[in-house]
C-alpha cells in the first residue's frame, strides 16, 4: 500500500521498483525547501527515496524489499521522532 493505494509487486522487488512500476516518482518532500524528490541512485547511496514504512521514517525504498501488507507513505520533511514531532 502507498498512500492508501494498493501497489502490486513481484517477489524480490524493492519498494522503489514496485512504486516506480506503478508510476509513482514523487516519494517525499525535502526538509529544507519542501521540494519534491524521488529515487536517484537506486543503490542506497543518495537517500533520496526515503519513505515512511509501517510508521517508521527514513526508510530507503531502493534497499527495502517489498512485502505483502506493507504500509508506505510519502515522507514530507524530516523524520518524526517517537513523540510524533518533526525531528
Amino acid at each position: 500500500m502507498f498512500e492508501g493505494r494498493a501497489i502490486p509487486f513481484r517477489p524480490g522487488q524493492s519498494l522503489a521498483g514496485a512504486l516506480m512500476a506503478a508510476g509513482v516518482v514523487h516519494f517525499r518532500r525535502t526538509p529544507v525547501s519542501g521540494s519534491e524528490r524521488g529515487p536517484w541512485c537506486l543503490m542506497g547511496i543518495c537517500y533520496e527515496c526515503l519513505l515512511r514504512v509501517d510508521g517508521s521514517d527514513n526508510q530507503r525504498a531502493c534497499m527495502t524489499a517489498a512485502r505483502p501488507g506493507m504500509k508506505t507513505e510519502r515522507q514530507d520533511g524530516a523524520r518524526l521522532d517517537a513523540a510524533g514531532e518533526q525531528a
Binding site: G17, V25, H26
Partner: protein, 456 residues
Amino acid sequence: MTAWDAIVIGAGPAGIGGGSVLAENGARVLVVDEAPGPGGQIWRGIETVPDSRALLLGPDYLAGKAEAARLRASGAHLAFETSVWRAEPDGTVWLRDNEGIRQEQARHLLIATGAMERPVPRPGWTLPGVTTIGGLQILLKREGLLPDGELVLIGTGPLFYLYAAQCLAAGKRDLTLLDTAANGALFAALPSLPAALTGRGPAYLAKGLKLLWKLRRAGIRFHACPQDLRIERDADGLRVRFRRNGALHSLYASHVGLHEGVIPETHMVRSMGCHMDWSREGAAFHPRRDNRLQSSIERVFVAGDAGGIGGATVALLEGRLAALSILEELGRSVDPLLRETTRRTRRAHLSARPLLDALYRPQDALLSPADEVVACRCEEVTCGEIRAALMADSAGPNQVKAFLRCGMGPCQGRTCGMTLTSLAAASRNLTMEEAGYLTVRPPLRPVTLGEIADLY
C-alpha cells in the same frame, strides 16, 4: 570475541574473488554486504535472475553466476543485508542489520566497496523522474523493470551505451540518446590507442564498437554534444532543453536518465585515514595502494573499483590478489606462479582503460556547473552559494560544509563531495589534491542513538 582472519567489505566481484580465495585456503573470513546476496552492482540479482532476463543482460553479467556459487561453496561466512557503518585501522568493524548493531574484529580488512556514479549536477537533476542510468540498470537487473513512456538518456561512458543497448534488446523504442562526450575526445584519446590494442584491450574495444553499431543500426534518436542542457517540469511531465549548432531543442520525457561514468566509492577508506591520490586519467580520487594492493594503512587492503575503475574482471582478479597477500601475511604458502599469472591477466584486462578514460572524460562544464545548479541534494545548497562562500573566506570544502551544511545530509557528501572539491580548485586555482576533500567520519550509514545505546 575471536578475531576473523579477514573481513571482506562488499560482495561484488572483488569481494567475491577475495572471500572465495581466503576461505578456500582455510582463512576464517567474514564477507559483508548490504544487498540480499552476492553480486554487487554489476552482478546485481545474479542468484535470482530468471533465464529470460539473464539472456538480455548478456554473457558478462552471466559470468557472475559461477563466481557467486564459488563464494557460497568456499566456506566463507556471509552476512547480507548488513551495513558497515564504521571500520577502524585496527580491524574493528561495526555492523548494522535488522537485529541492531554489533562489532567484529579482524586481523586484516579487504575493502571492496566498488564504484559509484560520478555525480552529474545539472539544472533539474533533482526532479522526480530523473535518475542515474546506473540506477535504471539496477532496476532492470534486479526487477526486470524498464521505465514506461518516453525515456531520454543523457551522458556518456560504457554504461550509458550498454544500458541503451539493453533497453533496445528488451524492446524499448521510445528512447532518445543525448551523447555528452566532448567533441575533441576522440582526438585526445588517440595516443592511448596503441596500448589499448594489446592484452585483452581489443576484446573490450570490439564489445564497445558492437554496442555502438547496434544502437546506430536500430536508428534510435541521437543527438551529440548538446549544449546548455537543462531539465524542467511542466504539466505534461519532464522536458529536456538543449542547444545544438545554434538551434534550440526541447524533448518531452516521462523519464530521464543521467550518467557520466563511474568513480571509486571511497567513503570507507577515507574515514579510515587511507592516503588518497588524485588520478588525472580517472578524474577521481584513488586510495594509494602498493603492488600487494595494501593501502597506506597496514593490513588494510583495497581491491576492485574501490581502488580505481577497472571493471568486473579486474575487480575479481584484484580480490584474489589481495587475498593472496593476506594469506601470505597469515603465514600460509602462496603459489608465486598463481600470483604472477593473476597479475599478468589483470594487466591485460586494463590495457584499454586509458583509452576509455580519455574518450569519456567528464566535460569541464560538469565539474563547474552554473550558479543556479544544486550541488548538495540533501541540504539543497547551490553551486552559487558554494562559490560565494569560497570567495568570501578563501575556505576549503570543510569550511564550506560548516558554513552551508553542504555535505552534512544523510548521503554524507557522497553526492556533492567531488563538486565541492572541483569548485574549490577552480575558484582558488588549486589542484584537486590541494583543494582537499570533505573529512569523512563514521557513522558511514545512519544509525539511531537508540541502537548505540543498546550496546551499553
